[in-house]
Symmetry: C2
Subunit: 231 residues, 2 copies
């Protein structure tokens, strides 16, 4: 696992505090994120562009130097905004890498599932669909993100943490579907365990260099849940 060489990193940054910033091409706003929106004003479009520019710059710099060696200052310089602006768009450095907008989509997909479907199968559908759509949209990024998750503890921690929120988000509609209270213990435990299992599956995939079929792995994991863990 080729980790960041701290010595190299430090001497590099002290030599040139702002990164060697190739000013990056104007980011165009991908259709996916606009779709269905009622005419974005200039302000909104600019914001989206800035957001994307920051993310792109971050991924590029991390690829070149590693996560730890990449500072917010460098990211800001490369994205041609000020450091303050970076923090206005992303709460933490980890969020620049991890943030996505899939959660609400997953919730609406979940709610659209036929009544009476077992919760486990509903979640299977939701997650497989989410992953497949991610793979179609930007397979490259899925892989890089997964690799980073494997390599960088801080990112793993943040991911784990954000799953807490996802758990809450999914647990509520699930509870309703099976006629339980919104804060039901079993529902919550089930959801959290499920998400944790998915993350481990992704990590397993990443650790093996993304060679396997991720969707198949996920299905194996879901099957394991259904079997009552008879190993």
């Amino acid at each position: 696992m080729p980790d960041n060489d701290p010595m190299a990193a430090r001497s590099k940054t002290s030599a040139s505090p702002a990164a060697p910033a190739a000013p990056a091409a104007e980011p165009s706003v991908p259709d996916l994120l606009i779709e269905g929106q009622p005419e974005l004003g200039l302000r909104e479009r600019k914001k989206l562009k800035t957001r994307i520019a920051i993310r792109r710059a971050t991924y590029r710099l991390i690829k070149e130097q590693g996560y730890d060696a990449t500072t917010i200052e460098q990211i800001a310089a490369a994205a041609e905004v000020s450091p303050s602006t970076v923090f206005r768009y992303f709460a933490t450095k980890e969020d620049i890498v991890l943030s996505d907008e899939y959660d609400p989509v997953m919730v609406s997909v979940l709610m659209a599932r036929p009544a009476g479907e077992p919760p486990l199968e509903s979640l299977r559908f939701v997650i497989v669909q989410a992953i497949e759509s991610f793979m179609e949209t930007d397979y490259e990024e899925l892989e890089q993100r997964t690799r980073l998750l494997v390599e960088v503890p801080a990112l793993r921690a943040r991911m784990l943490d954000s799953m807490t929120e996802t758990t809450r988000l999914l647990a509520e509609p699930l509870a309703i579907r099976v006629g339980r209270a919104a804060d039901d213990l079993e529902i919550r435990v089930f959801t959290a365990a499920f998400l944790s299992a998915l993350l481990q599956t992704s990590l397993w995939w990443g650790e093996r260099d993304c060679q396997d079929d991720l969707v198949e792995l996920l299905n194996r994991t879901v099957d394991l849940f259904g079997s009552g863990f008879r190993l």
Copy 2:
């Protein structure tokens, strides 16, 4: 949920950078941690004392001021050591609150389980035993820790993160017991899901003010696993 008031915190710290430190009584080394040790030298005893003093000071200050408002400097002052020393004993501020030595104990308990016992039941035994022993030793701390876990996102994140290591630690002996490879996907997923479920159960307990019987809750959670999540 009474969170830390940042305004109050800031004005307090800027008024008196070092905490109002009641110098704290000499900590005595609890038997539990010495048990079976072959005579601790003076040096080792001192180290243990320092470790305990830091933890005590931290818990006290957090109780008085909240987690975020408590700085390492204050902790160091209250424990009567230098800030550098605090970091020599604990890698992160979160670790001061969370670190324990239960992991290796759990592993050895797990390995002592009868061959042929279903993995789920082995883990049930391990975890119930760990919690019960924690409750006997220091119920107060268990409660305070759980409450902090509920209230402080940073602590939750760190806890989640440390579970990754616990997963690895438990997965290997488990794999051996059922005759699978050490890095088997199913074993790893199972272990991670299980631990995640336990944490959620603890949080649920904490959110309800530690009123319920934690061991009973844990057993419910394990039962849910065995049922194949038929909700």
